[in-house]
Symmetry: C2
Subunit: 444 residues, 2 copies
């Protein structure tokens, strides 16, 4: 088995390539030194993006790139309905939530209507990290326990607390002493039928082990599409028995919908709803306001009340009129353009074409996805070892063909296809052509 890839080994510009860049780009890259060494640029030849529209972005020369990576501007780059809402509200008022304002109420009611009836409260933050940070605190206050279980390549955010429950950050980041790890629900290894019982068994073992260490079980924090683990949606419904087990053990389920929420899976509005279980807390972020910072934590009132009775929480920018106008407009586009339906239709077409490609490319070991979140696993056909280097090279080849896509998973051998929700059939064709050519160039 190849060595595990860390985030640092993934798609990134290497300073050693600096002299290969043209003078303009070299200058921009050099100026980025002001941002510190933590700012990772994508690609050996980084891209300057100056304009976006729908599923497309354009560089400084006007070259059109197909964006098959971006789930933040999920209703499309610069969607006019969202742009208009942001511009209008920015020119009218942008203040905090200590005064009455109708937009936050209109939006909250529309969003709660998309959640199960039991989830009847919603609070706003600015980032998915803040939402997960708050959700863990709410769960701990309610249960009186500290232990939170996540999957072994999970990523739930960047605050001190949430980083301790995000093993995919890598070994430099210490995990929380109250973090329990589940294996990745790898359906390619374990199969769709067995995965539920397998994960339930590991969950019970992990809870018992934590209890033996004096750590009570507060809950499971889960991205139901397991994106950073390598994209393992599995068959709709398999997570329900895990949810039941969490509740039997007295824990809460925090559904982290930053990745699978807001139409993404094509089968339901939320990732958890695709399975059918009802979580206790739901966190959301990235696609919520099409790029304007906005996130939220929704919960059952009896759970949230325990927290708010003890701890006053205020978040200056959260729920402000501009963020709410952007979020409301984004939700309207999702409904008006039936983007759940589009994710379903285009996603199915995409998977079919990828499966067709796999027939002639034995290095494609697995194609899996839900809606417009698709993973393509590349393994050595002879040994089953992950083709990490080749997958990274594939990303670079796609970039040369002006298609922006990425990779993920423990070994970086999963092609990650996560397009704007407005991806079209023509966009799929363009992606597939670039992919075929890129595979041919690499010879896999």
């Amino acid at each position: 088995m190849a060595a595990k890839t860390t985030i640092l080994d993934m798609n990134r510009f290497d300073g050693a390539n600096l002299d290969a860049l043209d003078a303009h780009k070299r200058s921009l890259v050099e100026r980025r030194a002001a941002l510190g060494n933590g700012y990772r640029l994508f690609y050996r030849d980084p891209i300057e993006i100056v304009r976006g529209s729908g599923s497309h972005v354009f560089d400084e020369h006007g070259t059109d790139y197909l964006d098959a990576y971006n789930n933040v501007v999920s209703v499309g780059h610069c969607h006019p309905h969202v742009v208009e809402a942001v511009s209008r509200q920015a020119a009218t008022l942008n203040t905090h939530t200590r005064y009455l304002h109708e937009t936050i109420l209109d939006y909250s009611e529309a969003l709660l209507a998309k959640l199960p009836a039991q989830i009847d409260r919603i609070t706003y933050q600015c980032t998915g990290s803040e939402a997960n940070d708050l959700a863990i605190r709410i769960a701990r206050n309610y249960t009186g326990a500290r232990g939170i279980i996540v999957t072994r390549e999970a990523y739930h955010g960047n605050t001190d607390l949430v980083s301790g429950f995000s093993p995919s950050i890598g070994m430099g980041q210490e995990l929380s002493p109250s973090c329990g790890l589940l294996p990745t629900p790898d359906t390619h290894i374990h199969g769709d039928e067995a995965i539920g019982d397998f994960i339930v068994a590991r969950l019970r073992e992990r809870i018992a082990a934590m209890r033996a260490d004096g750590i009570g079980f507060a809950g499971l924090l889960v991205d139901s599409i397991f994106s950073s683990d390598g994209i393992f949606p599995g068959k709709a419904g398999w997570l329900n028995k895990v949810a039941d087990a969490v509740h039997e053990e007295g824990g809460l389920i925090i559904a982290d919908e930053v990745q699978p929420g807001f139409c993404r899976t094509g089968e339901a509005f939320w990732g958890f709803a695709r399975h059918g279980f009802v979580p206790d807390i739901v966190t959301m972020g990235k696609p919520m306001a099409n790029g304007i910072a906005c996130s939220a934590t929704a919960a059952r009132h009896e759970i949230l009340d325990v927290f708010t009775a003890k701890i006053p929480y205020f978040n200056t920018f959260a729920g402000n009129p501009v963020a709410m106008a952007a979020a409301k407009a984004t939700l309207e586009v999702m409904d008006d353009e039936d983007l759940t339906g589009n994710a379903s239709r285009i996603g199915s077409m995409f998977v079919s074409q990828l499966e067709g490609l796999a027939v002639d490319h034995p290095a494609i070991a697995d194609v899996r996805g839900a809606g417009l979140y698709i993973g393509v696993e590349f393994d050595d056909p002879a040994t089953g070892d992950p083709l990490s280097v080749e997958t990274l090279e594939l990303i670079e080849q796609m970039r040369r063909r002006h298609v922006l896509t990425s990779n993920c998973g423990s070994y970086g051998n999963i092609l990650k296809i996560r397009t704007p929700l407005v991806f079209s059939a023509a966009d799929v064709d363009r992606y597939m052509t670039a992919l075929q050519d890129s595979l041919a160039a690499i010879g896999i």
Copy 2:
């Protein structure tokens, strides 16, 4: 001495007043139940604000309120230069920092030029809480120690980590086991001349006590205007000996500029620069982009590098083109309109008029401030006890006269005047008239 006021006892709508509201407002308040019990509304008769311009906001009837509270839209509500920048960028592109984009570089260079040369790196987050959360982690990684010292009524944010260093949140929130508390630098009690030595002595004691408990000293996290402590800017320069002591003890200074930064104090662009010392890490937030979520952590490169070498940090919305366009436009307005100068001129005029008022009002025990951050302390002239109830009533009286202002401090007896930076002489006149009338109405 009166019982300490908690945040929960301060300016807030009480549900018992619901029936006193008109049907429209009652409906809005009732609909806010969807946000949970944590959403505090200001005032017994809450205000619906629908429009803002400069230092003024307008309710649903078009009534003009003077905003003497808001330091987020610091260059004025809906400043046309910022609105234009946000609208233009939202219509052009809004994506993340993994691609090259010039605005983040232009802005970073302009902002770093305002910082001491030693502070040569800047990283972006979305909220002041995220910036302080990251700053503490950076300081801990660099020093290898965990102990952070703050003042006893400090507020530094709402993440799990930062809440543990924000005693003003109140007793429901446990402080971090590695949090050390300094007394409030109360110049009204200790005097301007003695305050530096007093705080240095307490700092040394606190560091020694933490070390005796096995907690190393990582640094001091400080808002140099001590806003939530009750607004104690003191005389420019007094904090320098505290900074020296922190460095002698091997700790770092994190200057939390969320409140005093960006022209606020009228004496310098930054709160720490008003004193003269050079911090190791500088965090910023609220006023940075005039209401669009944007925050930052600036640091010496040798300090930041230790963190980034170990831990990959990415923040999806942070530094995105819309946030950077808003921040850049805000900074341009600050320079073009000389808002540091305005804060100085208008702030001095304000303080003079307040001091004049104090001559006839013995309940005004102290007037103190720097630029457009002014505190007016109300104590019983006979006993020196804080006039907490009266100060809260004063806020309500001011609201009836259509002036939005607030209170702060351990006992809530400090009138907090924190206006947009574009406050005018006419605005001061209006504030003073409302204040005189309100004092007369209360009879203090």
